[in-house]
Subunit: 159 residues, 2 copies
Amino acid sequence: MQIRRFADSDWPSVWPIVRDVIQAEDTFAVDPGLTSEQAYDFWVDGHTVVAVNDAGEITGTAHMDANRPARGSHIATASFMVSSAARGQGVGEAMVRYALDWAREQGFSGMQFNAVVETNTSAVKLYERLGFRIIGTVPGAFDHPVKGRVGLHIMFIGF
Amino acid sequence: MQIRRFADSDWPSVWPIVRDVIQAEDTFAVDPGLTSEQAYDFWVDGHTVVAVNDAGEITGTAHMDANRPARGSHIATASFMVSSAARGQGVGEAMVRYALDWAREQGFSGMQFNAVVETNTSAVKLYERLGFRIIGTVPGAFDHPVKGRVGLHIMFIGF
C-alpha cells in the first residue's frame, strides 16, 4: 500500500468513495446529495492524498490542513474515507499515520478531530490506539439515520 | 438596548468593532489583517444582528447559524463581539439571550460554541450563567498573544 498526493486525474476513482461515504450519512455531517463537482470542492482541500493498493487501485482518501487560521493554526485536522471494499485492511490506519507524520513534519503541535460520530467505533478505536483521546462529546449532535441522535466526539493528540 | 437584524448600511459601524476584536487577537482565531471586505465576508454570515443602545449607537454584533450541515444541522452556533467602549453593560448577555431565543424559535435542539478561548473568562462565565457547559477543552489550541498557548473550550447547551 502506498499513500500519495491526490491528482485531479484521481477524482473518477475518489468520487465513488466520497459518494458512498456521504450517502451512507453515518459518519460525516455533509449533504448526501452533493454533485461530483460539489464533492470535489468539499473534499479536495488542503493536503489531499489517496491510498493505493498493490494492484494500483485507490482504496481510500484523506485530506489534512490547519484546523483554524491565525492563532489556532498550530493545530492540524484531517478527515479520512475508505472504500467499502477495502475496509478492515489497514487503509484507515495507514492514512491516519500518514496524516500524523505530515502534521509533525509541517511543524504542527497537535491534531484535532472536530466531529467523530460516537457510533463510528472502528474509527474511534483506531484514533485512540494511535494516541488520540476524547476531549469531550457533544450529546446528540449527530442525527444518525439508524441510531437517531448520537454524540460527536472532539478528539485530540498533542505532539 | 435593542437587538435587530444587520443591514449592509450598518457595516461602517460594525467594521470597527470587528476590526478591534480581531486585531486584539485574544478571542478569535482569525487573521487580524483582514480587510473590511474580507471581514464582511467572515462576519456577515447566517443570521447576523447588531445591538443598538438608546442613543442609536451600535455597541455589539452577533451571527448565528447551524453549526454543521445535514445530519448535524439541528445544533446551532453563534459568535459575539462587543465594542470596547460598551463592555460591562450587558450587551453580550443580551446578544447571547437573543441567539438562544432565535435558535429555539428556529427549531434547533441546542447550541454549540466550537472554540471559546479559556482565558476569555468573562465570556466563559456568561455562557455558563446562561446554561452552557464546557464539554471539553483542547489544550494549548489557541496561541494567545500575551498568555501563550491556552485551551479552547467546546461549550454546549441543549434545549
